[in-house]
Symmetry: C2
């Protein structure tokens, strides 16, 4: 059964609209900013066959589209206020697919307390494209900037690094991952399919971090970007980079995959720098939020990152950053 | 010459970023809402070959993408605060095209005082797609709603109706418009190519209108939608619908084009309802803003619109509304 645009909006998307969405019956949404807050805005677009596999479960595609944006809010120390959604639908998409797709947005919208505010639905002769604009709030003056890293700051990452990049590799080249247990393979594949944005860490970030960004294009490249715009350098202990059991097993079987792990994309973890005197408070706040954080190095007065391996030698990565562009 | 994503952003888009865009160097934008204001948010997506011709001048494509969103803000009585932009670029787009495209955004961004705040640039194997999210502000409680029309309200439209729909027809079927003067044909084509959003009317709308929306999917269909969500009816004098000289000439040559004019899309005029006691103030404010407005009918306690022609007979339109979906 085909749905008209009006049916699609009324039956699938209106139920997840927040009060500001006005039932998705108006030209625009209305947002009353929380008193004393500033707004943080982010917009990430995803294209089928570029940012996800068209055959992925539709609810996972939807969740990924929202979660990549939620991850940006988390890294800025912002709490979600809502999102707008534009989808360009190719002809092959049917009502059943759309129901599951919308349900993915609906569930994450509840989980992350990020109601739908509005959007647009159009047809395309090309691939499915999803454009999400997410809005968050921070107390005035408290957005964590990418430019905020200072010499002496300790550098932290949340969770584990590289799982999604290894998951993508495992998906593209399953034969090379046969040494992995099915449990480890499943872990990596799932991390690629479904980011887990660290919104629980937002408050610890805005309260304690100087510089912050999310790791979406690879730890090495993203750290390099943050250092550059902050005008600082860094020493990073590669042995300290947190790896999951699955990533460790994959790298043990094929050591070259370490570079994939630290330069690949789609981590959606938080990379932030914290002044030493705030380190204990930050770690404690992260612990209370249930988000593991690991110190991987320290910012310096130099320029660019120095990556130091177990032997104490510097390491240079040929491919610093993954770019979806 | 190919531009990298970073070059593209730094050289073409960063110059039009507002202070909240943080030089387009962060993961997100920061917006400090004006004190006492609420935010109005809108998001319209455009796909090549669906919403515009891929061979259109790139600056016009950019302007149209921004202006369709600005039109939504104007209809809500909101003043622009800024916009976010996601573009999905197909392989054939080169740096020269992008420069002209970005210049279109840059100029309109100045004209409408709507700075770029952020966005995303991705590649696509499909057609060019542009997704704009525009933000505006209204004094608290003053957004003009589509649901606000009340029985007795006078119904106004800004500017002239049907030019863009006739322009699209003239483009698709030039042979049928040979009776038109080249000046008239150029007028219609230009109205299709480049909407002129009525942001100058925003204040008059928020100060005086009960119900308001922009006319993007055809006057007949859009009025029907507004009446439905407002729970009112209306009587509309078709002879009162404002037509440009060019539209009048086209319709004089082919009377069937009247239906195209009132049911076609892309007008980007404002349709609003004003209580009779505010009519003079509204007309005077519109005059001061330099925006022509025309009274075309009156809302009633009934349901749906009645369209009345010159002979006093009711007229029903087979195709109420144009849908891009």
């Amino acid at each position: 059964m085909q749905l008209s645009e009006d049916d699609l909006i009324a039956t699938l998307f209106a139920p997840m609209a927040g009060p500001g969405g006005l039932g998705l019956k108006d030209d625009a949404a209305l947002l009353v900013p929380p008193p004393g807050c500033e707004l943080v805005l982010t917009k990430d677009a995803l294209v089928a066959s570029v940012h996800f596999f068209p055959e992925d479960p539709p609810d996972c595609i939807a969740r990924k589209a929202l979660r990549t944006n939620l991850s940006d809010l988390a890294a800025k120390g912002a709490d979600p206020l809502g999102f707008l959604l534009a989808i360009a639908l190719p002809a092959g998409i049917d009502a059943d697919w759309l129901r599951v797709f919308a349900a993915g947005f609906g569930e994450d919208s509840k989980t992350y307390e990020c109601p739908l505010l509005g959007g647009d639905t159009v047809k395309t002769p090309g691939p499915l494209m999803i454009s999400v604009t997410a809005l968050g709030s921070v107390p005035a003056g408290r957005m964590a900037r990418r430019t905020g890293a200072r010499p002496g700051d300790l550098i932290y990452v949340s969770g584990t690094i590289g799982d999604a990049a290894l998951g993508l590799q495992a998906r593209l080249d399953a034969a090379s991952f046969t040494a992995l247990s099915s449990l480890h393979r499943a872990h990596l594949l799932e991390r690629y399919l479904l980011p887990r944005p660290r919104n629980a860490l937002a408050r610890a970030v805005r309260d304690h971090a100087n510089g912050s960004m999310d790791v979406s294009d690879g730890l090495v490249g993203d750290l390099t970007k943050m250092l550059k715009v902050s005008g600082v350098g860094a020493q990073v202990q590669l042995a300290a980079v947190p790896l999951s059991d699955a990533a460790q097993a994959a790298i043990a079987a094929r050591p070259a995959l370490f570079e994939t792990a630290v330069t690949g994309g789609d981590d959606y973890e938080i990379l932030c720098t914290v002044p030493p005197e705030a380190a204990l408070s930050f770690e404690s706040a992260a612990g209370a939020a249930g988000v593991p954080v690991t110190r991987i190095g320290q910012a310096t007065a130099g320029a660019g990152p120095q990556f130091i391996d177990l032997s104490g030698a510097g390491r240079v990565f040929a491919r610093g950053s993954f770019s979806h562009f």
